[in-house]
């Protein structure tokens, strides 16, 4: 097993400690923005803290990934190292799946248990005494306490923008796979074209999603504050959107790296990891389309 001799163990590295400081400052800044804001105090300092933390994080990401890419180009990574990266990325995606599972769980719980109970059905139907006359419906267009949580007038029609978005994302999953095959065949021109197409589709998706949010807030009164429907809707689609943006960023960086001549037909795990992530984002969207928009 000659590969074991080449398993690369880096010497000291400054990036993790920079990452720690960066993440700590970002999180502290974010928390300060919220706490100071709700107390009605100035949030300028908190925003500056948050910005500084973000800059440190950006610097760290460039530096850390930069050194990993350099080590890879220097031939320090064995096939065994490649397997480590594959395990690492797979389990990272699994952790993301579990993160979304928590929010899907909240949605299912609200629909199957909490709302019917509040409406007087089932084992805990006596909850209806809290707000007598409350009718259980889904989508929830009348909240138990409409003064505390004004309900949305309407919900997003799944067969307009969301359907278009579904088509966009599913197509992008397809285009990124075509790009991957092109990379494996060594056809760089085709690779660039299809990867660029993927990124364009991704950006279109993000744009339409933003348009949908504007509609929800301005026309439908569907907001974070409009009860459990708005809560689950915005949390699920919002976190998904954030992941789409992150995935788009990954794909864009892959495109830049490809322009610089990185990756070979055999060795391109960076690209593959980004495409795995992209497929994951796509699958989550299909779950959203079915359970948040249609059903």
């Amino acid at each position: 097993m000659a590969t074991y001799q080449t398993y690369y163990v880096p010497e000291q590295s400054k990036w993790p400690i920079i990452a720690t400081v960066g993440l700590g400052v970002t999180m502290f800044g974010l928390a300060s923005i919220m706490v100071n804001g709700s107390k009605g105090e100035s949030t300028t300092g908190a925003w500056i803290t948050f910005g500084v933390g973000g800059l440190i994080m950006a610097y760290m990401l460039f530096g850390w990934f930069g050194s990993v890419i350099k080590e890879s180009h220097d031939g320090l990574y064995s096939p065994q190292m490649d397997r480590t990266f594959r395990w690492g990325m797979s389990w990272f995606i699994f952790s993301e799946v579990m993160f979304f599972a928590a929010f899907f769980g909240a949605l299912f719980y609200a629909r199957t248990f909490a709302i019917p109970w509040l409406g007087g059905e089932g084992d805990r139907g006596s909850s209806n005494m809290l707000w007598e006359g409350f009718q259980a419906t889904w989508p929830l267009l009348n909240n138990p306490d409409p003064e505390a949580f004004p309900a949305p007038k309407e919900i997003i029609n799944p067969w307009h923008l969301p359907l278009v978005n579904t088509i966009l994302l599913v197509t992008s999953s397809f285009t990124v796979t075509v790009a991957h095959h092109a990379l494996k065949q060594g056809n760089r021109k085709k690779l660039k074209a299809w990867l660029l197409a993927t990124i364009v589709l991704a950006l279109l998706f993000v744009g339409l999603q933003a348009e949908e949010y504007v509609q929800a807030y301005t026309e439908l009164d569907l907001t974070l504050r409009s009860g459990i429907y708005g809560s689950t809707f915005f949390m699920l689609t919002g976190f998904h959107g954030a992941h789409v943006i992150l995935g788009t960023l990954m794909l864009t960086i892959m495109l830049i790296r490809i322009q610089k001549g990185h990756f070979t037909a055999e060795k391109h795990f960076g690209f593959e990891a980004a495409s795995w992530y992209w497929h994951f984002v796509d699958v989550v969207w299909l779950g959203l389309f079915v359970f948040v928009y249609i059903l």
């Binding site: 080449t6 590295s13 720690t20 993160f99 138990p144 504050r225």
Partner: protein, 527 residues
């Protein structure tokens, strides 16, 4: 490629860097393991001193030392610090030190990420502990931070607490990924999965649990964050949500979390008992399957923490029976440990003493857990000191005794010196008596109806509380002795041979003591 191999081989002759930068920038699993262990012990003392405040207040009925509000902050912070700051990092530290040595790997699979996982913890706990000094004080809603106590009625510092939890979660997930990648990918040739030491097996499964449930914790605190700051109604029935939803999501994380804290202790004890019985571990394969079964079942039992909250009867029955089912694989493990000792050539050095105490006292905690699992009985026990007694039996003479046993077992390998056996046995007996004195009376208090998380109590509970406090002070003070023993051992003492315990087996004993800075740069052959 050959030049690459050459320069690389040279790298491994480097010793540690000088000064503090060694610790800030290190990628070495032994350095990082030591930092985890030291950090965890510091948090153990911090969380422990909060427990001392609690027990001092409860020494006698009436309010004498602290305000009730501060008492609540103490119980909350004590729990959070012990769970996330003391027990979990201690096991990650052991994993860092021992897994590469046990499987013949040159280091952890992702050494830089390993460093990041560690340093995020001091960062997270800096934020968490700083909430004590914020307006409105630290979180005061118990370590389980149930909504709406933590959302509608929580102090402003709750938001900082949430972000601290996020950072801890990121640290744990990366740690889990690192452990899994190391075990699956860096084993020495010939070490098949079913030849792995039990400690490695338990950590493989623990790492899976970490990656599966820490994101759920992140999800639930994010929902809290939104409810507090952005007007969502996840946990507010007025908007169609449900405070009980909080409990469901929290315990979906919380129950596997219990096993995250105890499975590595199972693994360590499964190393130590055979070593001091001078026999192979009885029923290795069944031990592996039992750990797997416990981990899988741990996902199906969460609602046994919430029988009294009003869940449908079918749910109560399901969670009751699923919980009782866990007793089966756990029983397999306990019987296997006992069978390992049966007709063994036993000796009782400190690691063995702690391990035997672990088996006995953890079983007591398991039995009280079985009592709590019975839904109709739980209606009486719920939120009483019986629950406090139960989980402290599982976590203190369970998880923490497992950590002490591991520490004494591997200290010679880490420091190159034998620890002082007499002092270590003194530490054991003081801890053993202290822990039982502290927590056994809590069973009676709970059965008699004393509720948990209160600073004052009715007069009839006075005697048991005083005994409990005396035991807690004794246990707390004896940990200073442990600190002394470890420092003494690190600074000098009888030189330890490569294999200081004659009955022990495994690759970690094939390298010199102390283990060189870099080990297994070339993997050993395992037959």
């Amino acid at each position: 490629m050959s030049t690459v191999i050459d320069t690389h081989a040279q790298d491994h002759h480097h010793g540690p860097a000088k000064g503090f930068s060694r610790w800030l920038l290190t990628t070495n699993h032994k350095d990082i393991g030591s930092m985890y262990l030291i950090f965890s012990f510091a948090m153990f003392l911090l969380g422990g001193s909060m427990a001392m405040v609690i027990r001092a207040e409860l020494f006698q009925p009436g309010l004498q030392i602290v305000e009730p509000e501060f008492f609540n902050q103490m119980t909350t912070m004590h729990g959070l610090i012990m769970v996330f700051g003391a027990v979990m990092p201690a096991f990650v530290g052991l994993a860092n030190w021992m897994i590469p040595l046990m499987i013949g790997a040159p280091d952890m699979a992702l050494p830089r990420m390993n460093n990041w996982s560690f340093w995020l913890l001091p960062c997270a706990f800096l934020i968490l502990v700083s909430t004590l000094f914020m307006e409105g004080g630290a979180p005061n809603f118990g370590w389980t931070f149930y909504a709406p106590l933590s959302t509608t009625y929580g102090p402003p510092s709750t938001t900082f607490f949430i972000f601290a939890v996020h950072i801890m979660g990121i640290s744990s997930i990366m740690g889990g990924i690192n452990v899994i990648a190391t075990i699956l990918n860096l084993r020495a040739p010939g070490m098949t999965l079913m030849k792995m030491p039990m400690f490695v097996w338990t950590w493989l499964i623990t790492a899976f649990l970490l990656i599966a449930v820490m994101p759920v914790l992140a999800g639930v605190v994010t929902m809290m964050l939104m409810d507090i700051n952005f007007g969502t109604s996840f946990f507010n029935a007025a908007g169609g949500g449900d405070p009980v939803l909080f409990q469901h999501v929290f315990w979906f994380f919380g129950h596997p979390e219990v096993y995250i804290m105890v499975l590595p202790a199972f693994g360590a004890v499964s190393e130590i008992i055979p070593a001091f019985s001078r026999k192979r571990l009885f029923g290795y394969a069944s031990m592996v399957y039992a750990v797997g079964a416990i981990a899988l079942l741990s996902f199906l039992v969460w609602a046994h923490h919430m029988f009294t909250v009003g869940i449908p009867i079918a749910g109560q029955l399901f969670f009751m029976y699923a919980t009782m089912l866990i007793a089966v694989p756990t029983g397999v493990k306990v019987f296997n440990w006992v069978a390992t000792m049966f007709r063994g050539s036993l000796s009782f050095e400190a690691p063995m003493l702690f391990s035997v105490a672990f088996v006995i006292l953890f079983t007591i905690g398991g039995f009280s857990g079985l009592m709590l699992a019975i839904a109709p009985a739980d209606f009486q026990y719920h939120d009483t000191y019986f629950v406090v007694a139960h989980f402290h039996y599982v976590l203190v003479p369970g998880a923490i005794f497992g950590i002490f046993a591991s520490a004494y077992y591997w200290l010679p390998k880490w420091t190159g010196h034998m620890y002082d056996e007499t002092l270590a046995q003194t530490h054991f007996w003081l801890s053993f008596v202290g822990v039982n004195l502290a927590f056994f009376p809590m069973h009676f208090l709970g059965l008699a109806g004393m509720p948990r998380r209160i600073p004052d109590y009715a007069l009839q509970f006075a005697d048991f509380n005083m005994i409990s406090s005396i035991g807690a002070f004794m246990f707390g003070a004896s940990q200073l002795l442990f600190l002394f023993i470890v420092v003494k051992c690190a600074r000098g003492g009888e030189k330890a041979p490569a294999k200081p315990w004659e009955g022990s087996e495994g690759l970690e004993w094939t390298v010199p003591s102390p283990a060189p800075y870099h080990t297994f740069s070339t993997p050993p052959e395992v037959k």
